[in-house]
């Protein structure tokens, strides 16, 4: 699971008013090179919740290259590459997502989060 995906996800537990962001913890993280696409990263900038991205990146130990505030549109290439790295090149292979309100945990195995709830939930 990449941090771009984490930034798009929320908890769907019953009765939750604000399920975003899901708390992230990891036991295995892999870094894989992914081709850089400046246009794509630029377009994603105003879709991201920047605070949640920085928090998740810090959780994985890769938050140092990110500025506190979201970059302006048309940021320089070096900055876009930092964002690209954090969004697409850092994979949570094993870990957990946790609902911020109920504490319900969703496992991440082999890079895939399992968001399925039981009938009662």
């Amino acid at each position: 699971m990449k941090l771009l995906t984490h930034n798009m996800m929320k908890s769907h537990c019953k009765g939750v008013t604000n399920g975003f962001p899901l708390k992230l913890s990891s036991t295995k993280v892999d870094v894989k090179e992914v081709e850089f696409n400046a246009d794509f990263i630029t377009r994603m900038l105003d879709r991201l919740e920047w605070g949640a991205l920085v928090e998740a990146a810090r959780q994985l130990g890769v938050g140092d290259s990110l500025p506190e505030m979201a970059p302006e549109e048309g940021g320089d290439e070096e900055l876009l590459r930092s964002v690209h790295h954090v969004l697409l090149e850092v994979e949570v292979t094993e870990g957990e997502l946790e609902c911020p309100e109920t504490g319900r945990r969703f496992p991440i195995r082999n890079g895939i989060p399992d968001m399925r709830l039981n009938e009662e939930e």
Binding site: T5, M8, M9, K32, E35, F40, L88, G111, I112, M115
Partner: protein, 157 residues
């Protein structure tokens, strides 16, 4: 598994190969996920994320986070009527742009009316025949050809 026995999960791979910035595959069935993960590895896809979730349940994704969706939803059977509509509704909720999907041609009028009444525009991009193998005892033939539309559901601009 023999290649012809392994159900092929290629929609996400096709998207990635055609230059999508990033692809997220939503799938609930563990066997399908295993097939998909195997295919992703075989094709060396590095920009496809898989999330195991039930799209008929409340969404694990925020609204409008995706640009577009491409899907091949279940068509709905005797015990599962209307599931194709649920998939379509969910895709439109999660996407800010058009949704591309396969539906039985016999549902074309119904889908078009339903979508247009909500302000969307439906285009049939292709008409095809899908071969549905015998899966249940109640199916009398070994294989059935079903008329299928490939449609785009777009927001009016």
């Amino acid at each position: 598994k023999q290649w012809y026995q392994r159900r092929v999960r290629v929609l996400s791979i096709g998207c990635a190969m055609l230059g999508a910035g990033h692809v997220t595959a939503l799938e609930v069935d563990p066997d399908a996920i295993e097939d998909l993960a195997g295919n992703l590895e075989e094709y060396e896809m590095d920009n496809v994320d898989v999330v195991q979730c039930d799209v008929t349940a409340p969404s694990s994704f925020k609204e409008g986070v995706f640009d577009t969706a491409i899907m091949n939803p279940p068509f709905g059977t005797k015990n599962n009527e209307g599931i194709d509509m649920v998939f379509l509704d969910r895709a439109l909720e999660l996407c800010r742009g058009s949704v591309y999907s396969f539906h039985k041609s016999s549902t074309r009028e119904f889908i078009t009316r339903r979508m247009e009444s909500r302000g969307y525009h439906v285009t049939v991009l292709a008409e095809m025949k899908f071969s549905i193998p015998q899966m249940y005892k109640m199916h009398r033939k070994k294989e059935v050809l079903v008329d299928v539309d490939f449609i785009r559901v777009a927001r009016e601009r």
